[in-house]
Subunit: 222 residues, 2 copies
């Protein structure tokens, strides 16, 4: 009798991709640009979102899906900006999946959103494996985490369209080798764009906004 092999992980990922495709179809139909933002805990995703909302909300209608293992502290902060936001708690899960994001989409006023920022659970591993239906993937690597992270979390760096190197204001105090970091990232993924930023000083934020605006424009042109 043949041994039965359970390929549970593959099945989960296939099921996830089916639902992710439905999410993509929905946001495309609503002419929304959905971006999946990933990082380690505390790299500055929520701070990035708050600053981006402040600086872009006059010309772009923004919505947010917040993913966390527990709590709604991030969604509470976004909510103060009077932006549509949904908090998803994964109850121990180390990433958002397409099914959870589908429920998030069902609870947002999609006709009033042009740019949907999805803040994934703080994690450099599992989040990289699950497509949510987003058109673009962005990751943040905060300077204090160190320049060796591409070697240790290669899938994340292989998957993303943009790497934001956050907390760049701390550069004088840290031994972060930007040249080695860029070389390691490009070795995994030549097409990724890398922007050093500081939400605190505003450094580099214009490059991030330009990238977002170009993505929004190229969608309107399509």
């Amino acid at each position: 009798m043949a041994v039965k092999v359970l390929t549970i992980k593959e099945d989960i990922l296939v099921a996830n991709d089916v639902r992710a495709k439905e999410n993509t179809d929905l946001v495309e139909k609503k002419n929304i640009l959905m971006i999946n933002i990933m990082s380690s805990p505390g790299a500055g995703k929520t701070t990035l979102l708050l600053k981006t909302i402040d600086d872009m909300k006059d010309k772009t209608r923004i919505g947010v899906i917040e993913g966390d293992v527990a709590s709604s502290v991030d969604a509470d902060k976004i909510n103060e900006k009077s932006i549509p936001v949904v908090q998803i708690n994964t109850a121990g899960g180390c990433h958002l999946d397409a099914n959870q994001v589908s429920q998030g989409l069902n609870n947002l006023p999609l006709d009033d959103i042009d740019l949907l920022l999805v803040e994934n659970v703080g994690n450099l591993i599992c989040t990289a494996e699950f497509n949510l239906g987003e058109q673009k993937k962005v990751m943040m690597l905060s300077l204090p985490e160190g320049h060796d992270k591409p070697y240790k979390y290669p899938l994340m760096f292989t998957e993303v369209d943009v790497v934001l190197v956050s907390k760049n204001d701390l550069a004088p105090l840290l031994d972060f080798d930007m040249e080695e970091f860029v070389s390691a990232v490009k070795g995994l993924n030549e097409k990724t764009e890398i922007y050093p930023i500081s939400a605190k000083t505003g450094e580099g934020m214009e490059a991030w906004y330009s990238w977002l605006e170009n993505q929004l424009k190229s969608r309107q042109g399509s």
Copy 2:
């Protein structure tokens, strides 16, 4: 016909606990103190290990198990200290498990080790779920990650015996509210000890070494 419910995660954890118990029995027999060190990526686990080895190796025989998704950059650094070290690559897995650590133990000279430091994969979620057979769990939370992390990753803070708050030399530049952090941690786990440290300036390292020495002594006395 009754619906068949697959409780895969529970089964995995039960199987893990059986193997973890075997690991505990082995290290107890060898009179080794095994410590599972967890944190986000880049919080400073390897730097802590390197500094601890430098400062304690004259009186304590130290061994290391390094866990990473990929690469051996950390084990290479430990190896330069002429300390027994094994690198485990999880090939995508977001945590070490007891089975992997068992293999690590089989590849270390256990008769020559008093203190075995296990550096887990950089992750605040999955690592907290899997016992490795260690006698004590330690986590590092680096100051740049922010004081709100206990709300977002409660299981980790509930599980650990010690929280090392690392990169404390950056405190003047950050808005980390230590009082709120300590209160949040103690709310989840009253018994956890919390030590602010900086491997860079050496601040607080003595408290960490004292804790380690007390653990080693209390084992010898038992």
